[in-house]
Amino acid sequence: MRLPDELLAKRVLVCVGSGGVGKTTLAAAIALEAARRGRRALVLTIDPARRLADALGIGALGNEPKAIAPDALVTLGIPAPGSVSAMMLDMKRSFDDLVERFAENADARDRILQNRIYQHVSDALAGSAEYSAMEKVFELSERREYDLIVVDTPPSQHALDFLEAPQRLLEFLDSRLVQLLLHPAFAAGRFGFRLFQRSAQRVLQLLERVSGLAFLEDVSEFLLAFEGMSEGFRERARSVRALLLGPSSAFVLAAGPSAESAEQASLLLDRLVASGVPMAGVIVNRVRVWPGGGDAPASIAEGAEEAPAIETLRSALARSEGAGFPALEAARAAVAATRTYAALVRAHALATGRLRSTAEARGLFWLRVPELPRDVHDLIGLCRIAAALRGAPAEEA
C-alpha cells in the first residue's frame, strides 16, 4: 500500500471527506510526500478554522502561498527540488478579487462592492467560498510555480458545491425571473414571452408580499451590477471546471476508521462517482493497528486460557518488580487493557474492510494511516503520516 506515483504526477489533488477525519492533516502529508518525491507541492485549505496553519506551524496564512524554509525541509529528509508551500484563503477577499477582475468598469465594481446585499452575501453565497477557492487553484495552477496543488475541502455535505455553485449562479443570472427584475420594461414588451411573463410577474408580486419591496430592490440592484460580470465569470467557471474534472486532476476521499465514518464515506464515494469527478482512491485515517502488524487475535486470554495467562504475567511481573508490587492486579489490568485495545483494532478492521472492498471494486487505490499515540501538530508528525502514505511503518519516520 503506497500512494501511487501517477497520483503525485497530477497537477491538482482534491481531498474530500466528512468532518473530523483529519482531511487537512492528510492533505498536508500528501504535499510533504510529493515533495519527498521531488515535486514542488502546494497545499491549500479553505477551512475557516485555520487548522492547516496550525498543522504546518507557519502561523497566519495570507492569500498568497508561503513556503516552508529549505533548511527545515532538509531536516525532514525532503531533497531539492522538492518543496512545500501552504496557503489558506481569505474567502471574503477572494470573492472581492473576483468582482474586481470581472466587473465591467470601476463604477460597476464599486456598485457591487457597496451593495448591501453583496456585503452580506459574498461570504455566504451558496458555494461561493468553495468556488473562490477553486478559482484560486486554477490561477495558481496556471502560474506553473507548483507541480502539484493539494486542495483540502470543507466537510462532505458541501463537497461538490465548488463545482456546482458557479453553474447555479450563471443559470440564475440567465433566468427570466432575473431578466424581469433587471429589465422589466424591455421584457414586458417582448412578444411571445407574454404567457410566461405573466406568471413570472405574478411570482414577483408574491415574493414582494413575502419579502417586502425594499429587499427586492436591493436584490435587483445587486443582480444588475453582477450581470456585467457574467461573461468573464462564465468563461472562467468553465475553465475551472475543465481543470478539476479533467485528466490532470484527481480526487482522494479521506475517511475515518469507525463504522459510522466508513459508512458515511461509502455514501460520499457513491455521490462523488455519480457526479463524474475523477476519483483516484480512499485513505482511511487513524486506523488502530495491532503492534507488530497483522490482525488482532479474536480473543485475548479468554475462558480456560485466562487463569494460566494471568498467572504467567503475574509471576513475570513479580520477578521483575520485586516484593510489594501488586503483580496480580497489574496482570489483570494489563490483560484488560489489551482486550480493550484489540477490540478497537477489530472494529476498525471490520469497518475499513468494507470500505476497502467498495474502493477496490471501483478500481480505486486504498490506503490506511495508523492511529499514532500522539497528535499530529508539527512537521515531524506530518512526516510520520507521509511515511504511512508510502507504506512504511509509522515508527520508522
Binding site: S18, G19, G20, T24, P48, A49, R51, R116, I117, H120, V121, A124, L125, P154, P155, Q157, E171, F172, S175, L177, V178, A200, R202, V203, L206, V210, S211, G212, A214, F215, D218, L267, P291, G292, S299, I300, A301, E302, E305, A309, T312, L313, L317, S320, P326, E329, A330, A333, A334, V335, A337, T338, T340, Y341, A343, E371, P373, R374, D375, H377
Partner: protein, 332 residues
C-alpha cells in the same frame, strides 16, 4: 477562577431549557448527544422534539435502529421523542402557505423554474427558513392549548457552518430594511437570543484541533451572537487504562523478558505496546479536556468513549447520565 466557580454553581440543569441547539465540529458526536439528551428528557417526562437539519437522517438510526425515515412530517420514534428532519424546501412551502394563504399561489411560486434557480443561488434562506420552522414548532400547541413540546433539540450543522446558521437572522435583520421577511427574522432572532430558554450546547472531542475550534466557537458566540452557552460537552473521552498506583504499567511491561508462547496471551512486548498507546491517548485526552475548560472559560461535561460506537438506545442511555451530570471545572 472564582467567577467560574460561581458560574458552575449557578448552572441550570440542561433539561430546564426549552430549546437546546447542539453544535460542534464534524465527527464530534453532536447527533449522539442530541439523541441521548432526547432520551433523558423523555425519561424525565418531557415531550421532546429532535430536529435534524442536514441532508441525511441520523437520529432515527440511533433511537430506533431499522426504522423508516421520519421525513419532514416527523414521527414519535420512542415514547415522548418526536424526530423530524427539516428540509428547507418543504419548510419554505409551508411558510409560503401560511403567508399567501392560497395553495395555488404557493404552487405557482415553488414550481417556477426561475424561482428554484433563485433559491439555489441564494445564501441564507435555508438557514432562516429552517430556524423559522423551529420557531413554528416551538409555538405549537396541543388540543388543550398547552405547548406541544416541552424540550426542542436542534442538531445543528458542524461548526463554522453552524455559527453562520445561527447568525443568519441577525444578518437578515441588518440587510433587509422593512417587510415581512425582516419581521420573521426578528422573531427567530429573539427565540435564539432568549437567554432564559435557549441554550447553545457545544460538543467537542478531547483532541487538539477540536479543542481549539471549540474555544474559537465559544469566543465568537460570546462576542457576536449573544446566545446563552454555559458548558461544553467533551465526547468520547478515553479513561486512564490502569488503576491508581499502576499508571506506568506500560513501562513495567516493557521491561519484562519474553517468557515464550502462552496460549491466548500475546507476547509481553505487544502487551506493553498496547498499554503505552492507550496510556498516551488517555493522557492526551486529559490534557485537552483541561485545555477546553481553560480556553473556553466554561465548565465541561465529559462523556465516555464507547469503542463499538452507538449501536442503539442502550448505548445512548449510557451517555444520558453523564450528559446530565453537573459540569466540573477541569481547569481548576
Amino acid at each position: 477562577m472564582a467567577s467560574q466557580c460561581a458560574t458552575s454553581a449557578s448552572l441550570r440543569p440542561l433539561l430546564e431549557r426549552r430549546l437546546v441547539i447542539v453544535t460542534g465540529k464534524g465527527g464530534t458526536g453532536k447527533t449522539s448527544v442530541s439523541a441521548a439528551l432526547a432520551l433523558a428528557g423523555a425519561a424525565a417526562g418531557k415531550r421532546v422534539l429532535v430536529a435534524e437539519v442536514g441532508r441525511d437522517e441520523h437520529v432515527p438510526r440511533l433511537l430506533a435502529p431499522g426504522s423508516v425515515p421520519v421525513g419532514y412530517a416527523g414521527r414519535e420514534l420512542v415514547p415522548g421523542v418526536t424526530v423530524l428532519r427539516i428540509d428547507p424546501y418543504e419548510a419554505l412551502g409551508e411558510y409560503l402557505g401560511l403567508q399567501l394563504r392560497v395553495r395555488s399561489a404557493v404552487d405557482l411560486v415553488l414550481r417556477n423554474k426561475a424561482f428554484r434557480q433563485l433559491l439555489d443561488a441564494s445564501p441564507g434562506w435555508r438557514e432562516l427558513i429552517t430556524l423559522g420552522k423551529v420557531w413554528h414548532l416551538e409555538q405549537m400547541q396541543d388540543a388543550k392549548g398547552a405547548r406541544r413540546f416541552d424540550l426542542l433539540i436542534v442538531d445543528a450543522p458542524a461548526t463554522g457552518h453552524g455559527l453562520t446558521f445561527l447568525d443568519v437572522p441577525r444578518v437578515v435583520v441588518s440587510a433587509v430594511r422593512t417587510g415581512p421577511l425582516r419581521r420573521n427574522a426578528e422573531l427567530v432572532g429573539e427565540m435564539i437570543g432568549d437567554r432564559d430558554h435557549t441554550l447553545l450546547l457545544p460538543v467537542a472531542l478531547a483532541e487538539e484541533l477540536p479543542a481549539r475550534e471549540t474555544a474559537e466557537l465559544v469566543a465568537r458566540v460570546r462576542s457576536s451572537l449573544g446566545i446563552a452557552v454555559d458548558r461544553v460537552i467533551v465526547n468520547a473521552v478515553v479513561e486512564a487504562p490502569f488503576p491508581a498506583g499502576l499508571e506506568d504499567l506500560d513501562e513495567r511491561l516493557a521491561r519484562l523478558p519474553e517468557a515464550g508462547a502462552h496460549p491466548g496471551l500475546p507476547p509481553f512486548r505487544v502487551l506493553a505496546a498496547c498499554a503505552a498507546h492507550l496510556r498516551s491517548r488517555a493522557d492526551l485526552n486529559r490534557v485537552y479536556v483541561r485545555e477546553i475548560a481553560r480556553d473556553s472559560g466554561l465548565p465541561v461535561v465529559t462523556l465516555p468513549f464507547l469503542p463499538m460506537g452507538i449501536r442503539g438506545p442502550s448505548d445512548l442511555r449510557a451517555l444520558a447520565d453523564p450528559l446530565l451530570a453537573h459540569p466540573v471545572l477541569a481547569a481548576a
